[in-house]
């Protein structure tokens, strides 16, 4: 990864993607101004080929950029937009300006097209939707949006006339795999944020006359927390090991299963170590631990991906597990 790129995006987010912004957008404010800053930075086209005006980077080069979206609990689908633009460009379609949410699990009936629980459906400009033989690119402004479980998400319904305006893109790629890959990278970032915040808190919070981080029980909880965070980050990096912009399903399954498993463990340990304050609206920890739970569920929980991974392993036929482990873990 180009270290300079990573530092530049990191600085931008450090300055602009502050907890108050995350809260405001979650609370219903428009993300347009913040998105404008991101658009201006050019990072959204990092994966788009150079001949199409992008930076031409590979998925494996941008892991840390995707991760940063989690590090700052970014309230817009920036990572999703990066990969969606690259895939659209690759499929010969000119990517639109604005942010792109990824959607699957759709149903078409008389009322039109319905996508339930679209991650970032409330704040995105476009939705890239998986259909059996193609993708549809639809403007979210043309959809009816219904609130769903999480504040940044929405259930979206496009009526027949809106559907007629859809851009059809021929593609075979599974949007869920793509979303799982991106979400695993964001989970890695959020896991690291939770880890760093918890470590800092344990050094500051005093009880019984000393920082709670001096108690062996807390030290060991933090060690376990760090183990999960680092193993999950490695898994997420594995998920992004591809020389183009299309991830490999075996690696993505490892990435999403491991990061989702870690999300649960790390969120629980972090809250345990923070005590009551960590559980308040006012304290920033919740911005990240709520994300851990949301993203654990996005594009399939660990159980879903464990089953997928298990099927791949079992269907391979006789031979050492080691060979599958190698295929999943050797860098691209």
């Amino acid at each position: 990864m180009d270290d300079l790129l990573c530092k530049a995006l990191g600085q931008l987010l450090e300055d602009q993607c502050k907890p108050q912004l995350v809260r405001a957008i979650e609370g219903g404010e428009s993300p347009a101004e913040f998105w404008g800053l991101l658009e201006e930075s050019g990072f959204a086209d990092a994966l788009v080929g150079e001949e199409q005006g992008g930076a031409g980077l590979a998925l494996r080069d941008v892991f840390e950029l995707l991760e940063l979206c989690g590090t700052y609990a970014m309230p817009v689908p920036f990572a999703e937009t990066m990969v969606a633009r690259a895939l659209l460009a690759r499929a010969g379609a000119h990517p639109p300006t604005g942010s792109i949410a990824l959607a699957c699990g759709t149903a078409v009936d008389k009322a039109g097209l319905r996508c339930a629980h679209v991650s970032f459906g409330r704040v995105a400009d476009w939705a890239l939707i998986q259909r059996p033989t193609e993708w549809l690119l639809l403007s979210i402004a043309d959809a009816q949006a219904f609130p769903t479980i999480y504040p940044l998400d929405a259930t979206l319904v496009w009526g027949p006339s809106a559907l007629a305006a859809a851009r059809h893109v021929p593609a075979a790629l599974d949007v869920q795999v793509l979303q799982a890959c991106v979400t695993a990278a964001k989970l890695a970032g959020a896991l690291m944020s939770v880890f760093n915040r918890t470590l800092q808190y344990a050094n500051e919070r005093q009880q019984f006359g000393r920082p709670i981080g001096k108690f062996q029980a807390i030290q060991h909880q933090l060690s376990v927390l760090s183990e999960h965070a680092f193993a999950a980050r490695t898994a997420a990096q594995i998920g992004c090991q591809a020389s183009g912009c299309v991830p490999e399903i075996l690696r993505v399954a490892v990435a999403k299963a491991r990061t989702s498993e870690a999300a649960l463990e790390v969120a629980a340990l972090a809250h345990s170590i923070h005590g009551a304050i960590g559980f308040t609206e006012e304290f920033d920890l919740q911005l990240f631990t709520r994300r851990l739970h949301e993203w654990r569920q996005t594009a399939g929980s660990e159980g879903y991906w464990q089953s997928e991974l298990g099927k791949m392993l079992v269907n391979l036929g006789p031979g050492l597990t080691l060979d599958t482990v190698r295929a999943a873990s050797d860098p691209d």
């Binding site: 470590l199 050094n203 807390i218 060991h220 376990v224 183990e227 898994a235 490892v254 080691l322 190698r326």
Partner: protein, 385 residues
């Protein structure tokens, strides 16, 4: 903190990866008729002839300089070799310690004469070593060792006792951590490492049987054992520092990840068969794979640090703590999976292997440093202590 942050995905160089082909060819032949419950012994299984054969093929002391009979290869080459040996369940116990840590320790701290004397036979698979750290009252608290070497005119006079010494009953030498000055109250000061020829008069080795019925570790007693002055390895009084460096070699390898892999493969073969396949077992297979793959990547990252000449102590502790957790999860979860069913349909060899691994699993998180000690090391790495 920074130590952990620097763990990045590392590729095994292709010339080292290439080693997998001849090793696998050899192991496919060698291991084809060995039953799973024997292969499951992994690095606890011993076969001197097997070790010699590896030596003849140039697969011992792979990272040691050629001038001492080694292979002159990188730690990545050794990683590939060891990964294959473990996954096939090869009986590597005889030479394991000498190859992994004793020879590198002698190379790092020994005199030229010591290197010339000890390393070539290790590389030929003719000289086996054991680790003399633990004592009855020095387990996790290793600085509490009381075995003492006293300087005499001829060299050193050794008295005391070691325990849990893996393979001492089959070894030629022990590298022991002993007190050469002061008392146990001096803790890390006054400790040194010495090489003890286990055939000397005054040395008594008594094997200890473990709960599975196997015999792999021993008690070793020293009663007025007279050692030459060149028994000392490294500097007098620097034993603690040397042992710490040695433990980085001991803890960082893939043997902290693959101790239950033979059982897993055997179970997977059953899951791949029609009577074995259930949705729950398929999900479990995926759960384990999702744990192992990133740990392997971390393990290779640690190997990369060793290759750069580092001593990745904290990183190795992290990999070992997580790795042994997976090693222990495998028999526990497989038992739950198999005994949900009518076990008449389960191959007997699989149940036998499961029973063996279940019984030895507690030691995975003890040998090489108990779990709490590793977590304490990570906490230190995080700046908490």
């Amino acid at each position: 903190m920074s130590a952990l942050n620097s763990l990045t995905l590392t590729a095994i160089p292709s010339e080292d990866e290439a080693l997998r082909v001849p090793i696998r060819e050899f192991l496919t032949q060698k291991m084809k008729d060995v039953p799973a419950c024997v292969r499951a012994r992994s690095w606890s299984g011993c076969d001197m002839n097997f070790s010699r054969e590896l030596g003849r093929r140039g697969w011992l002391g792979l990272t040691l300089p050629k001038e001492y009979g080694g292979g002159g290869r990188s730690p990545f080459a050794r990683y590939v070799l060891v990964e294959e040996l473990l996954n096939w369940g090869a009986p590597v116990g005889s030479h394991w310690v000498a190859d992994r840590q004793s020879a590198p320790l002698i190379l790092k701290y020994g005199t030229e004469a010591q290197k010339q004397f000890y390393i070539p036979p290790i590389c030929r698979g003719e000289s086996f070593f054991c680790i003399g750290m633990s004592e009855p009252n020095a387990g996790s608290d290793l600085a509490n060792v009381r075995t003492r070497a006293t300087k005499t005119e001829q060299g050193w006079l050794l008295n005391g006792q070691k325990i849990w010494t893996t393979n001492a009953h089959n070894c030629h030498y022990m590298i022991a951590l002993v007190r050469t000055s002061g008392t146990a109250d001096d803790r890390h000061r006054g400790l040194s490492q010495i090489i003890v020829d286990l055939n000397l008069p005054g040395v008594t080795v008594r094997p200890i049987r473990d709960q599975s019925g196997d015999v792999h570790f021993c008690e070793v007693f020293f009663e007025n054992v007279q050692l030459a002055s060149d028994a000392l390895i490294g500097a007098e009084g620097r034993g603690w520092e040397q042992v710490t460096a040695e433990l980085a070699f001991e803890r960082s390898g893939p043997e902290r990840l693959y101790s239950s892999i033979v059982l897993f493969d055997e179970w997977l073969a059953f899951i791949r068969s029609e009577p074995g396949n259930t949705p729950e077992s398929v999900r479990l297979a995926g759960r384990i794979l999702a744990q192992i793959a990133p740990l392997r990547a971390l393990c290779i990252a640690v190997t990369g640090k060793l290759a750069q000449g580092g001593s990745p102590v904290v990183e190795a502790a992290l990999v070992k703590d997580l790795g042994t957790a997976v090693e222990q999860l495998i028999p526990a979860a497989i038992a739950n999976d198999l005994y949900c069913r009518d076990t008449q349909a389960v191959p007997f060899e699989l149940l036998l292997t499961l029973n063996y691994v279940t019984q030895v699993a507690p030691c995975f998180s003890l040998r090489g440093g108990a779990r709490d000690i590793l977590r304490g090391m990570i906490a230190r790495g995080l700046g908490l202590r």
